[in-house]
């Protein structure tokens, strides 16, 4: 059994590695389709224009330096090798290592995502439980309708409305950015939280609605189960049944649901960053498109994929940890 479990885990990790490899290869072949001479992007358009007319031999030298004269297979090999060492190349724009830039921005995106995921999870489970427990009551209808409506509004629309209300009309929120600058210690943290409030709030709200809906149906399913009925017939108080028997069972399926949202929450935060001028991955990718900064674009896609893969691993791990019944962690067969 134990051996079996290890096999399963090993297989899964292999699966994830395969995923990352596929995305990396996809990235490599995208470069082949890139319009124009890759060298143009390596030296910058202005210099490239000058060099093509004045010193073509310098360009050839540069091409050899970047290995552009070798076969595609050879280039692919070096690409993968460098990837393994964490070398994603350098940004065309400012010649800084791509990985450094991405990691910095990723941390900032996490500042939005992590609190939003946690808040959305806790509030979602609680509100969903309240709705499911009172199924059919007015409170249930109220909560689930509202959740559905918010679920239908895209995050950036919510953000725009939030910006209008809190920023322009009430004037209590900053218009964007991450901090005011020139602060340290407590004042800095306060300032940071103040800037975070609106984007995190909006992100939480849009993710919350989905959690509520999911939790509600999970609760409704759980209530129907035998041991809950048993508990009811044994005369336990509603409160005890809810917190001792229903909630833990109903919340379990929420673990993969919440962790699996990572992909969509990354997308959501990318849209919001653009609106709130939050200098994270979203803005980075958006600007990279504007400047055809391919190494950044591809690196971002790879790193974001790795994030999602890690989130899935976490989900497997949590599931296995919390429920003996699904220790084999078969999330993909849910």
């Amino acid at each position: 059994m134990n051996y079996h479990k290890q096999m399963k885990l090993g297989k899964k990790v292999l699966f994830y590695l395969l995923t990352i490899w596929l995305v990396a290869s996809f990235n490599f072949f995208l470069i082949r389709f890139m319009p124009g001479d890759p060298l143009e992007h390596l030296v910058g358009t202005e210099d490239y224009l000058y060099l093509t007319t004045a010193h073509p031999e310098v360009l050839e030298e540069l091409g050899a330096k970047y290995g552009l004269d070798k076969s595609a297979l050879h280039q692919y090999g070096t690409y993968l090798f460098r990837l393994c060492r964490g070398d994603l190349g350098r940004s065309y724009k400012n010649n800084l290592p791509v990985l450094d830039i991405i990691l910095k921005k990723l941390g900032r995106t996490f500042r939005l995502i992590v609190p939003a995921v946690l808040l959305a999870a806790v509030l979602g489970i609680l509100l969903g439980a309240a709705a499911g427990w009172n199924q059919g009551h007015r409170s249930d209808r109220c909560i689930s309708r509202l959740a559905l409506i918010i679920y239908a509004i895209p995050g950036y629309c919510l953000g725009m409305i939030g910006l209008m209300i809190f920023c322009f009309w009430l004037g209590i929120a900053p218009t964007g950015g991450m901090s005011s600058g020139g602060l340290s210690g407590g004042a800095y943290i306060k300032d940071l939280l103040w800037h975070m409030a609106l984007p995190v709030g909006v992100l939480t709200l849009s993710k919350l609605s989905y959690n509520v809906l999911m939790m509600r149906s999970s609760i409704i399913e759980t209530i129907k189960e035998d041991h809950i009925l048993m508990a009811k017939t044994r005369g336990f108080s509603d409160c005890r049944i809810l917190f001792r028997h229903v909630l833990p069972n109903a919340a379990l399926p929420m673990i993969p649901i919440i962790t699996m949202q990572t992909g969509s929450i990354i997308s959501g935060s990318m849209m919001l960053e653009q609106l709130f001028n939050w200098d994270g991955m979203g803005l980075l990718v958006y600007k990279a498109i504007g400047g055809n900064d391919y190494p950044i674009l591809q690196g971002s896609l790879l790193v974001l994929t790795i994030c999602v893969v890690l989130a899935n691993l976490l989900s497997d791990f949590l599931c296995a940890l919390s429920d003996p019944r699904i220790k084999d962690g078969v999330w993909n067969e849910r």
């Binding site: 699966f15 995305v23 890139m34 509004i153 409305i161 209008m164 990354i266 674009l297």
Partner: protein, 246 residues
Amino acid sequence: MVVLLFVALFAPWIAPYDPWEMSIPFLGPSWEHILGTNDVGQDIFSELVFGARTSLLVGFTASLAITVMGSFLGAFAAYYGGWADRCIMVFINVALSVPSLPLIIVLSAFLKRSVWNIILCICLTGWVGTARIIRSQALRLKDMGFIRNCRTMGCSSLYIIIRHLLPNLKETILTKGMLSVASSMLTEASVSYLGLEPMTSKSWGTVLNDAFRAGGVFNGYWWWYLPPIACISLSAFCFLSLQEES
């Protein structure tokens, strides 16, 4: 929902103006222009009416492709099992791990801008959800009596999948299909809001983007930015409610 379809189908008759026709820019709401005009003097109401077309076009085509592809792959995987199943599962897992919006954005840097490319991008990752659910449901059905009977009667696999397996899953397929219409429409709106759509295409996202870029939001032209938000949200809500009920 019906209203939406109606509007999209009969857009040219409903819209008071050609949404590409230009007159005086930055007009407020009036009887001539119910929702005013934008920065190049196009009627915003007509833009929205025609935007419904784009949104529904993307929503339906993408979700159709997603559903067909997803259910077939799911059913195949479940029916054949073994290597076919494993291969498809690998693809499902890979596609599941790639965040869709970043992928679409990166691809848009390489592809030519057109609505069809956006649909393509949406399909690229969209089918996995459907495939996964169909596969797990089909696994359950596969060993049921009537499927086994068919097999012993010598029906071809394709016949069994199309005539017996999938029809029995039509409720799941339909529900998932509705969901993917909503999500495709939302994705399309996001992409066009980011300005990654062709410049002249009219969609709710582009109207919103124009409103933001051309100062509509700061100058307080609510008639410019609120209606597209309402359109996007309402239509997504429609499909979600449908899915809820079915």
